[in-house]
Chain length 428, copies 2
């Protein structure tokens, strides 16, 4: 179960306990590289074989039909559709704030400089199948692409052995306004959209969560296409003061850990009493959790309650972890913000539980994991646009600055660069 | 030399000629992976050995001293320093327009949602050595990091066999306000800053151009740290109408091709006469180019003049190529903009030659290469910041929406997620 560490006395033990090595699995890489090369070479034929091999089916069509989507919609609980629609509106509303505008500005001598923002032409959003077929992830991936203005949005989600894609996925796709859903999964799905096949279009970007084969395939095709950041095991840090509610803290740690035995759930508090109270509450409640086994495993390998000297030290420890999710169960969450440098998302106060952000509030739930919040960002509209610089120079400005620019090129030994300027100067 | 293709008749020949395969060199990958693993395991000792092996020297210090920087500054041509300073001011001014602001907005029931923009803590900017030690690249890499507010900016540039880093690099570093310059090069330099060694700090992001070992090393460490996009062979497309200046067009094609035999220089025109004029001008002038051999090689493997039916078709061909640099030697460049979907930078009109953008105007010259302008963007301030979502929910809003959120979690089979909400609802 959860172990309590005193940060002052047990720093090295704690660091060892929290150390999350990124292991490089050469075997998986080889498998993935072979699949990528095979799909690039043999296209649809390879896709048909892999789908039979890994999903146990050779579907009549690679895509879900309009009838299948309609049937899923008819079968769905109307209340579930309603909450999907409400969540999607919130997600869209938040992401509209992220839309960068093109800009230009003018300088003396009729120079215009600018930057243009345009949507990507086409993207593929991967949606895992089986138990991990989360409609919320689908909404979170599609919304920023829609807000960005991407014209071609393709979804793919591995079908089951009957050739069917999860009804939840199809309903969420319809809510998000996407009508093209492929039935592929795994590294081969990534390969098909990265290289294109006879019946699968090559896209510009591939996003979405997946197992280690999908993650490695995305990393391998990076450069042929763009990808979102590589998702690893996820984590939550809850900073709790002496007035926090131990039940809320314990449940939020459970919620993170029920995903995956690799998930890290960490409470940091300046109150030894709160540490004991959270531990006690967790032990009392864990028996009633549906996924108690997964939570227990995650707690023992990657869970911790850390007692710090004060809240400044708590912030330091949180910065060191750079958590995907950071919950502030404290009286003064906004005042604490300037001391917290690295986190994917920050949840302010007792009633901003992670679940609210996972499903409903509006900010994206695809967040940088495994300490990468130091340098990666939540999935955003910026992932679905590209930027182009615009340079409009005038003869007058070239006359004023051209010789200096040409000499700069001379210094780099690039004569044709310099001559391109000087030839223009000779005409002025 | 440059071959003229008629787009209507020779589409498939042209596609074959322009096809730029991305070859996967398993031998180089193995070398790079071994170096990465070795530096991760043995730190400074490995760095000392690789520097001796690849740079032929075991420098007394891994970093350039203040005295070395001062000496380079004293030796430098004051006019060169002045143009570096003027260029740096222009680059900074442009990049300040890219700085995203944090935002928040309020909803009913005291809900606050927002996004915070903060600089990365530390970055390493790679500067190639030898003939490719371009001070302009250094300015273009440092400026967006400085504008973003990155506190720790480390440069590294391979020293020569005397243990010295290029004076040009040191002068440019001082102009850009960076005082820490390491003497490492190659894949080992990337490894040192990705993993950290006894005397090299682990950073959050690695950017900058380099040879194929540096490029592959960056790709391999992606995820441990962030990187900029992977640079491949570069290209220019010049769209020329019947009134273009054939000398300007030819020189701009030379300027691109003098970099590298792999560089692609392509002129697209709707005027067969202009095609002939550009070809004739290029043949007439190439003898006077200092790098004529490189240009000839680049022209014959990756150069082309393409004659299209009209300007709409010229734009189509340009979109297909998605060039790093796109020059519009046409009367109506702004009117053409909406038809041009993919380019790293667009240069408007006869007097906006690429050289102006490479050195001086302000927009970044680190641009997406090899067709990746479909989905990648110029290096920017956005590369040196990260985004954090902020979610502040209220008890009132949770009372209004909580049960629906909990049911969404139920649908995904995540009971602890649901229970985290319901426990809060029970207190309201």
């Amino acid at each position: 179960m959860l172990r309590i560490f005193s940060y002052g006395d047990e720093q090295s033990a704690l660091k060892q306990h929290l150390h999350r090595s990124v292991t490089f699995d050469a075997g998986v890489q080889k498998v993935v590289q072979d699949i990528l090369a095979d799909v690039a070479a043999r296209g649809d034929r390879a896709m048909r074989e892999y789908t039979l091999k890994f999903q146990g089916v050779s579907p009549d069509s690679f895509t879900v039909s309009a009838e299948e989507i309609d049937a899923a919609w008819q079968n769905a609980d109307p209340e579930f559709i309603a909450v999907l629609e409400e969540a999607y509106r919130n997600i869209e509303a938040f992401h509209r704030h992220e839309l960068d505008k093109s800009f230009f500005y003018e300088q003396e001598n009729r120079v215009i400089l600018g930057q243009r923002v345009t949507p990507l032409d086409s993207v593929m959003l991967y949606v895992p199948g089986g138990k991990a077929a989360y409609p919320s992830s689908l909404l979170m991936n599609v919304a920023p692409a829609q807000v960005a203005g991407v014209k071609e949005i393709h979804l793919t989600s591995p079908c089951d052995a009957d050739g069917r894609v999860s009804d939840h996925v199809l309903v969420a796709a319809k809510v998000a306004g996407v009508s093209t859903v492929y039935k592929f999964g795994g590294a081969q799905a990534v390969a098909a959209f990265a290289f294109g096949t006879e019946s699968v279009p090559k896209v510009d970007k591939i996003t979405g969560p997946g197992n280690k084969y999908v993650a490695l395939a995305k990393k391998e095709v990076f450069g042929h296409v763009s990808i979102d950041s590589i998702a690893g095991p996820s984590e939550v840090v809850v900073i709790a003061d002496s007035q926090a509610n131990p039940e809320f803290v314990a449940l939020d740690l459970f919620a993170q850990s029920e995903h995956d035995p690799d998930a890290a759930s960490i409470c940091i508090t300046d109150s030894p009493e709160m540490a004991e109270a959270v531990k006690a509450k967790a032990e009392e409640m864990i028996g009633s959790m549906a996924r108690a086994d997964v939570i227990r495993e995650a707690f023992s390998s990657n869970g911790a309650i850390i007692v710090t000297r004060d809240m400044a030290e708590a912030c330091e420890v949180s910065n060191m972890i750079a958590p995907e999710h950071l919950e502030l169960h404290v009286r003064n969450s906004w005042e604490m913000l300037p001391d917290l440098r690295h986190a994917g998302a920050i949840f302010m106060g007792d009633y901003s539980c992670e679940t609210v952000g996972d499903y409903f509030a509006g900010p994206n739930h695809t967040l940088p994991t495994n300490g990468t919040a130091r340098f990666f960002s939540p999935l955003s509209v910026r992932d679905f646009v590209k930027y182009t610089s615009i340079i409009s120079y005038s003869p007058e400005e070239l006359r004023r600055t051209g010789e200096r620019i040409a000499r700069f090129a001379d210094h780099e030994g690039l004569q044709a660069h310099a001559e391109a300027v000087r030839a223009r100067l000779r005409t002025l």
